[in-house]
Amino acid sequence: MKSDQTHHPLIVFLSSTRLTIILLILLGIASIAGTVVIQRGTSEESHIQHVYSPGTIRLLDAIGAFDMYHSPFYLGLLIALALNLIVCTLRRLPRDVSLRRRLTSEGKPDPRGIARFGFYVTHAGFLTILAGAMLSGLTGVEGMLWMLPGETAETFTTLRGDTLAIGQTVRCDAFRIDMYENDPGMVREYRTDLTLTDSQGRSAQHVLRVNGPVSAGGFMLYQASYHVAGIEYFEVGVRSKDGTATSYRVNEGESFEFVPTEGTTVSVAVEQFVSDFQRLDDGRVVSRSDEYANPAALLSIREGSADARKQWVFLNFPNFHGASGPDAAYVFSFDRIQPRFGTGIQISRDPGSIFVWLGSVLLICGLMLSFFMDPSKRFRNPSPA
């Protein structure tokens, strides 16, 4: 920079640490606001409208508070911080270069020079991280693959709505959710078995787990989620008068048989299943919604050669036995629904990430240089208190 420019009040201000501190404080306040105001990216619109009045929503929308971290204000602060840093660095560089030359005049590098060098490494790291983040925002892509075992995918749709070719064929061979034996409510592992086939027809098998991503084409696959796609099987329980109970696995349209303690073989078929039982005025049974709010199965029960009688059993009401009286030889219950699970794989590509890691290394090295190489800042034994 020309020397007559470096003392212009505007340049001095733009390069000043006072501006840095102001910008950092504003960044902190904006960041706090983003954690307190509900963010659109992680919430439903209905939730936002439930919490805030229409006037508040209009106001917060105007300042971009519902997507704070991508708002012009926030991005503007980051850009201002970067510019402040660049201008400050350019102003300071000539002085540091000549200082360094003076300090190393004896041929040995002076620790003070090395420590001042730390500033450049730290802040180069910071700028590199910001550049990486910008690159991620501009060029990164992300989408989801929802697959059942047996399904394949060659393309995916990004969050922005573009359809991209993966470059390989992804086939879901299997998906399982394993629980802990001793803590049955807790998931131990989500695992998808994949076969990836490239354009030349070469295949490789991979296991995808949380914390164990798999690369496919130019993208990375992450075990992100799962979905319920129908029902694997039901379990219908039979409890006889003497108290013994057995569960039978069966699907809609299928039947099972059992022999009660006295009498002939009983055949039970599952005629119908509804996820949210509702009986209409005309007696028809429908599912009120797609939610599993009140799952019920219609059993058709045939004893020997007698006519079939029908009975609804309810998952949420195991003690409701319909018309069976207390003297019934056996009663039925709806014990369990085993859902069919499909995998939810996140597929993404982030060209900016490498710069974030590089910047991180620089930042750490720079901090160590600044803090631990400068003799005046070095830790030393305290003077006697």
Partner: protein
């Protein structure tokens, strides 16, 4: 006897040490310091043993992870970190002057595990997202950072209260400043490592290195507060009460980051464990 009972004993030992530090502060001389320091080291030895014990025990019951993953373990480890930072940096910074407050803080954290309702103290299995080699490095760096910031916080409080009380000479004010600054240097470096390792882990588990969830954002806010401290100190030469205020605000931010985002209703997010 299990590790939770041992932790209660550790708490009592730390309290005895804190009392002994108070006693030594009344008539400080080199030989007197040996008593509270000795008791502190004893407590720390027991505390380290209880962590190792819990770690081994988790493998014995078929779970197998470092004692860093649930609320109880995080409180116990935070207490350990504070005492560890104290013992390591005492020789460089003369932290023993603050021994009473720091050891009391360590005891207090362990004590809170008994006072907070619904605190689950058993060893719990890891959910899939936590099953990673990153867990150890990320959690340890973050808690050591919090511990360093806690020491800086105590120093800041002392700087403010004694300055107001008028019994702060220029020399002792500089010393307090010095301790506060160097603890924040250590904490800042550790926090930077903690945030970066957290991002690397998030990238591996969730496919993105930063999602601005409340925990991530508040760790960045904490980082920003201490960045302001460092810029104010290094570049603008701030000292004394003004810096102490920043150090205190920073530690409040640490509390929100560690505890607030998990338990206060205004925040919600992916990160709501440990």
């Amino acid at each position: 006897m299990d590790d939770t009972t041992l932790n209660q004993i550790v708490m009592v030992v730390y309290m005895v040490s804190a009392a002994a530090f108070l006693w030594t502060n009344l008539a400080p001389e080199p030989k007197r310091w040996r008593i509270p320091m000795g008791v502190a080291w004893l407590g720390f030895g027991l505390h380290t043993s209880s962590l190792i014990w819990r770690w081994i025990h988790s493998y014995q019951i078929g779970i197998g992870h470092a004692p860093l993953t649930n609320r109880y373990e995080s409180f116990v480890f935070f207490a350990w970190s504070i005492v560890a930072i104290f013992l390591v940096f005492d020789r460089f910074l003369g932290l023993r002057r603050f021994g009473a407050a720091i050891l009391a803080g360590g005891a207090g954290l362990i004590g809170m595990t008994s006072l907070i309702p619904g605190m689950e103290t058993t060893v719990t299995p890891l959910m899939p997202a936590l099953q990673s080699n990153w867990l150890f490095f990320h959690v340890v760096t973050c808690f050591l950072a919090y511990a360093a910031f806690a020491v800086a916080f105590f120093t800041g409080i002392m700087s403010l209260t004694r300055a107001r009380g008028g019994n702060l000479t220029r020399e002792s004010s500089l010393q307090l400043d010095d301790v506060m600054y160097r603890m924040i240097m250590v904490g800042f470096l550790l926090l930077t490592l903690g945030i970066i390792s957290g991002s690397a882990w998030a990238y591996r588990a969730w496919g993105r290195y930063w999602g601005f969830d409340p925990k991530e954002t508040w760790s960045l806010i904490t980082w920003t507060v201490y960045a302001v401290f460092l810029h104010a100190r290094i570049t603008k030469g701030w000292a004394g009460k003004r810096l102490a205020v920043i150090a205190i605000i920073g530690f409040l931010s640490v509390i929100v980051t560690y505890w607030g985002v998990n338990h206060l209703d205004i925040f919600k997010g992916l990160h709501s464990y440990g």
